[in-house]
Symmetry: C2
Subunit: 252 residues, 2 copies
């Protein structure tokens, strides 16, 4: 048996998220079915990040074990020949037998895209949050940086989800403006459930003027979901990159 690591992109529009579930079309189920079609093996695919319905990925990482003789770098082509158009394997390679895409990750980077155009909404409705109200970009940028560092993110976690610790380290949280897009890029050692979408919803409250940049510090300290803004919609969110320590993933 060998462990194969995949880097995957997908358009999440037509999926009920990444993780397999009893009812619903998921990225994991689709990939497992395609692997079975190629090898006859029933595999259990491991994924680095759990993405919700309509959330996209440019660099999701997956791994599975196989007895197949398909060379590691050919898995990319083999899978792309059977996968639907909205899932693509970007790279495939052999990983160490104990590599785990989720538990071995040291950081993940997500992007959230806000579209500001009056026109173009028909095209970006599945790929960005189309938000036409006026926004104070400087305030939003200043607010975004206040998420950087080690914090308790309980105020930015969907209520009802329980985890051992609400502390996470945000390595970088920056907002950029390009053409008609506002793009938040955030990397951290991990994320709580809905954390990025609540951060974005709160940054939009800052942009609209109902919160000030310094309110972020107060909301973080409150450890109370009711203090932060609404959860921004799923379709603006992309899992961009997952990083691993040197040597954890590769055979080379």
């Amino acid at each position: 048996m060998r462990r194969i690591k995949l880097i995957i992109e997908y358009d999440g529009t037509n999926y009920h998220g990444s993780q397999i579930q009893a009812n619903g079309h998921t990225v994991q189920a689709e990939l497992q079915q395609c692997i079975e079609r190629l090898t006859g093996e029933k595999v259990s695919l491991m994924l680095a990040g759990r993405t919700d319905a309509r959330v996209h990925a440019l660099g999701q990482v997956a791994a599975f074990d196989t007895a197949s003789t398909i060379p590691a770098d050919r898995w990319k082509y083999a899978l792309n020949s059977v996968l639907p158009d909205d899932i693509k394997v970007v790279a495939s390679q052999e990983a160490r037998p104990d590599f785990h895409p989720r538990f071995d990750a040291v950081s993940k980077m997500y992007r959230y895209q806000i579209y500001r155009g009056e026109t173009g909404v028909a095209f970006y409705r599945h790929y960005a949050y189309c938000f036409s109200e006026p926004l104070n970009f400087d305030h939003m940028q200043e607010a975004a940086r206040r998420f950087e560092g080690r914090h308790d993110f309980r105020s930015f976690c969907a209520s009802g989800s329980s985890v051992k610790s609400y502390e996470r380290t945000v390595f970088s949280c920056r907002l950029k403006e390009q053409d008609r897009f506002l793009t938040l890029e955030i990397s951290a050692d991990g994320f709580l459930y809905n954390m990025i979408r609540i951060i974005v919803g709160t940054l939009l409250e800052v942009g609209r003027g109902s919160l000030l940049p310094q309110d972020i510090d107060r909301i973080l300290a409150a450890r109370d979901r009711s203090q932060s803004g609404p959860t921004a919609p799923a379709q603006g969110l992309y899992l961009v990159e997952v990083k691993y320590p040197p040597f954890a993933e590769d055979m080379k």
Copy 2:
């Protein structure tokens, strides 16, 4: 009765083209149903350009007559409140009672988008022609300019379509490269059926090296569809802008 002019954008992915037909979901049928929902009137919508299934529009022009008292500039908001997400009215205004979006047009501009990335294909599959083979951009650019001017475009018209004249004047035909996109912008006084998609298919033959830029002159002179390249797929094509002579369209 007043005549209302609309500028419309739509994602053509889920439509069987712009023009109403017996079977199939079309942009015209969707708009007519929404106008009827708002006013109770059954209208016959005129459209500037006929777009095929999966072809998009950023600036399609439509017009219809109504006895409704909805002010002309409010039609935009009224229609957007009932239209599906993939059709948006960008602007509405009152037009002269004899304005016809198709017959009054003096030029139309279309764009064709080719995506060159190894990654990102999951996202652009409905919005560009994803083409990964190596291409000679300089040759394609030189070939594109040879379409400019007045020519007989019979070699670039779907076989079986019959028109009075195959002559059209191409005002501009330019290819641009930006990031991972090749974009052809072509404006003309009119287009034959599939003309742009056959031009693009032929430019790709030039890019691949199976034709030279100067072959365009020979193919134009042949007046024979079998001499030109294949028809490029629909999803890369966008109707961008329709132009009218001064005073033809406006009441002001």
